[in-house]
């Protein structure tokens, strides 16, 4: 195991993860808002924000899928050491991390069942930047409407929304910033 | 003029101080030591360990002392403590065939390899108050028989199994679910049902078992075997490549032999109910076996007659006494708001009903 795996976790786990969760909750409960998080120093190419999400939400009970360049020894070792999360293929993943193009096609991930729509994957999508502009978001969590830069055409996320109450939930991460897009959000082009 | 009642915090502190005083009782009477509870109220300790799902006689004794002998309260204390414990790993399944039995009886065979071991039982005692105990007499020593040390004895049901007379249980190395770590999902499988029953309230499980004997889901059970004794708990250490012996724990295991008429695909043979409980808990383990067997109607192709003991959702949702007592007792909490809403509704409905019948509506006194 690489020595970097042992570093970059939360210094004070109870407090760091609590603050990180509140930012995460705000991000998902208020789509279109962009939150700043801290406390993780994960190995490249994992962003600080994605690292924080992994430390906050995953453990031995949550299978994680690493896509594309994120599926590298440094990241694997770091997640294994820091969280104990089993690394799996897309179909079994509770969480998946990677660049948008590597996560595609999305239909490989669990979208939940009619009885248990919560048994669906959460995708952590690493982005170059996050901005409150672009696609128009409306729905639960949003007063009137909001805008968020998305890594793909609005229709892709609209198709996910159309599955409601099934579907995937997304976090977009860039550096130490993150935004959430739950399946409940209606996404349109302008 | 009116001022609302205040002082919740003070009231709580005072109540707790009073409780502590009551717990101690008359200070001129010597205080109970934990080892006295552990050694002399062992069956209470066992019940608290079994339903608390935590094998620790000293902690159970403490819980009993702290709860003034209220065993459900003691079980609650154990459960609340248990959830705070980190989980280092999972032991190997215990091998009850290797149990060092202090008691082992079968109701189905008069004699059998390993013999009937009566052990320390209330059975055949005449339930007469023993005033010698009140006089604080020294307990008589039990006679020691040479060569009668607890030893491993084979399971009775294996004798039946050899002849194909009893249903073979499917072997599985699948990790059983864990109710304490995952929310109960229905329908549940047998390992989860057994876990729920093992933690379940002794009185509830007893009454359900009794109801099957009276015809509410009858299963014609005999105690094939009841055994009590110590088993070894072993833990595989991956780094070492072998299992280490952690401790010996006392268990009670019951296997019932039940009549089974057979089905289209199966010739008549006996079936089993199973009970396994921490500590010496005979009544509980027999009850558990009967309820387990009643819940197996579906897999055995039997009719569902609507008996409570056959109803998995009913049994599993209501067997936990900590859930039950909490929800039951919560109606002591203030419900001013919902009651007020009901009060308004009833007044309005009454006023409208009286208006319709033409009766004069009662004038509210304060209005």
């Amino acid at each position: 195991m690489n020595a970097t795996a042992l570093q970059g976790g939360f210094a004070t786990p109870a407090h760091d993860s609590a603050r990180a969760f509140r930012a995460t909750l705000d991000a998902l409960a208020r789509p279109g808002t962009i939150q700043t998080v801290a406390g993780a120093q994960p190995p490249a190419p994992l962003s600080v924000a994605a690292g924080v999400l992994i430390l906050t939400l995953t453990d031995g009970t949550t299978p994680v899928h690493l896509a594309g360049a994120w599926d590298c020894a440094d990241v694997r070792d770091w997640i294994t050491f820091q969280t104990g999360a089993p690394l799996v293929g897309p179909a079994d993943a509770a969480f998946a991390v990677g660049a948008w193009n590597d996560l595609a096609p999305l239909d490989r991930f669990a979208i939940g069942t009619p009885d248990y729509p919560d048994r669906s994957a959460t995708l952590i999508v690493e982005c170059d930047a996050l901005q409150a502009q672009g696609a128009q978001l409306t729905g639960s969590g949003i007063k009137d409407s909001a805008r968020l830069s998305l890594p793909d055409a609005a229709r892709v996320f609209a198709a996910n929304h159309a599955l409601f109450p099934l579907g995937l939930d997304f976090f977009f991460t860039a550096g130490d910033r993150l935004a959430g897009l739950p399946r409940s959000t209606k996404v349109e082009d302008n | 003029m009116y001022v609302a009642v205040k002082g919740g915090e003070r009231a709580i502190e005072n109540a707790h101080a009073w409780l502590a005083e009551e717990r101690r009782g008359d200070p001129s009477v010597p205080e109970l030591a934990l080892d006295q509870i552990r050694e002399q109220l062992k069956l209470a300790v066992n019940r608290v360990m079994a339903e608390g799902s935590l094998y620790d006689p000293d902690l159970a004794a403490l819980a009993i002392k702290q709860s003034r002998g209220d065993l459900i309260e003691s079980i609650f204390l154990m459960r609340a403590y248990r959830t705070t414990l980190p989980r280092f790993g999972v032991s190997r399944p215990v091998d009850t065939a290797a149990m060092a039995c202090i008691r082992r009886i079968s109701a189905t065979f008069k004699d059998l390899p390993g013999g009937q071991i009566l052990g320390p039982t209330f059975d055949y005692t005449h339930r007469l108050l023993d005033f010698a105990l009140a006089a604080e007499g020294e307990a008589p020593r039990a006679p020691i028989t040479e060569g009668a040390e607890p030893a491993a004895v084979p399971h009775v049901t294996e004798f039946l199994n050899r002849d194909g007379l009893i249903q073979e249980e499917p072997h599985s190395d699948e990790t059983p679910g864990d109710l304490t770590r995952n929310p109960l999902e229905l329908p549940a499988n047998r390992p989860l049902r057994l876990q729920a029953l093992a933690r379940g309230d002794e009185g509830f499980v007893l009454s359900l078992a009794y109801s099957t004997q009276r015809g509410y889901g009858r299963t014609h059970a005999f105690v094939g075997e009841l055994r009590i004794g110590l088993v070894a708990v072993e833990y595989d250490v991956p780094e070492l490549g072998f299992a280490i012996h952690l401790a010996d724990i006392e268990l009670t295991e019951c296997e019932t032999v039940n009549q089974f008429k057979g089905s289209r695909s199966e010739p008549p043979q006996f079936t089993r109910g199973y009970g396994l409980v921490l500590g010496q808990s005979e009544r509980k383990s027999i009850s558990m076996s009967l309820v387990d067997r009643a819940l197996r109607w579906r897999e055995l192709g039997e009719d569902y007659i609507g008996a409570p003991a056959q109803d998995e959702e009913f049994v599993l949702s209501h067997c936990d006494n900590i859930q039950a007592t909490g929800f039951l007792e919560h109606i002591k909490l203030p419900h001013y708001v919902d009651f007020q809403a009901e009060l308004e509704l009833v007044r309005r409905l009454r006023a409208e009903a009286l208006e319709l019948t033409g009766a004069p509506a009662m004038k509210e006194a304060a209005e």
Partner: protein, 305 residues
């Protein structure tokens, strides 16, 4: 914050906010799925807490999973900060999380409640955590979880409409005064917890995050801010958020939910705000009800305690 003394934290003995990190992660994941599927009840592996089931263990676990050291916590039961169970839960978090507490609704960042929504409108950045006894709105119509889960999956809420309609046939109105079922964003029928139906409209379009925890029943559900929540009704029998038709005897408010207090054995009674913080804030601002003392902090005011 005056009446409640700060207790030193006991974080040495227990983890921050009592629960271990793995348990908090499990609860946090459930909360996030609840937020993503508003109104849907997410199963979670509720832990045994050091207070009884039915006394707020679900709310306590949700609060514990949400709290940060910087939070300012308010706990109410029946709208009041000083009811015994509210005091007990607030003290639990003072001890185990060392967070600041308040009775003042606008100051609070997290509010745990049983049976009420505060009268003062909530704001963005606040979280309202409800204690829920029976999270399944269909439970009293169909006791089996296996059945109700299927009904939610199929969006089959006919049973609920039949029940409400039977009410109308028998009583001329819907005879449910609290725990009044709602529909969330046109999809899930949800149990609002036993709040009076007077509070139901406050759930809709609320700026705060609303989280619901049912410990014994092992369910968490959520309403993100600005979620559309509609109380079930019929066109010819529209929902009415009713309350006692009186002003508060202490602060004179005519639009707050009221507790009825029996004054004597002659049938004398008065009505006072169930939201104690709302009422005292109004009195401090000079609003005086018909039965209040002329001014706060008069010596004789303590007599009745």
């Amino acid at each position: 914050m005056t009446a409640i003394a700060q207790t030193p934290t006991e974080t040495d003995a227990y983890n921050f906010a009592y629960l271990d990190e793995q348990t908090k992660r499990m609860i946090r994941r459930a909360i996030l799925k609840g937020v993503a599927i508003p109104g849907y009840q997410v199963p979670f592996a509720s832990r045994e807490m050091p207070m009884p089931y039915g006394w707020g263990t679900g709310g306590v676990q949700v609060t514990a999973a949400c709290l940060v050291p910087e939070d300012r916590l308010k706990v109410i039961d029946q709208g009041a900060d000083d009811t015994t169970n509210a005091v007990s839960i607030r003290r639990f978090f003072q001890r185990t999380a060392g967070v600041a507490v308040t009775e003042n609704t606008p100051e609070a960042t997290v509010i745990q409640t049983r049976h009420r929504i505060p009268e003062t409108p909530l704001t963005e950045g606040q979280i309202l955590v409800y204690q829920v006894p029976i999270p399944e709105p269909l439970r009293f119509l169909e006791p089996r979880e296996t059945e109700t889960r299927r009904m939610h999956a199929l969006e089959d809420y006919g049973l609920m409409h039949v029940k409400l309609y039977e009410d109308i046939a028998r009583h001329g109105q819907i005879a449910t005064s609290y725990d009044y079922p709602v529909k969330v964003e046109g999809r899930y029928v949800m149990d609002p917890s036993p709040i009076p139906k007077f509070d139901n409209p406050k759930m809709s379009d609320n700026a705060a995050i609303q989280l619901f925890g049912a410990g014994r029943e092992q369910r968490i559900y959520a309403l993100p801010p600005y979620t559309k929540v509609v109380s079930l009704d019929f066109e010819d029998h529209p929902f009415v958020a009713s309350k006692a038709d009186h002003p508060c005897g202490l602060c004179g408010s005519t639009d707050s939910y009221l507790d009825e207090v029996i004054m004597d054995d002659q049938g004398g009674r008065m009505f006072v705000c169930s939201d104690t913080n709302y009422c005292s804030t109004r009195r401090e601002a000079g609003h005086i009800g018909a039965m209040a003392a002329p001014a706060p902090a008069q010596p004789q005011e303590r007599r009745a305690e």
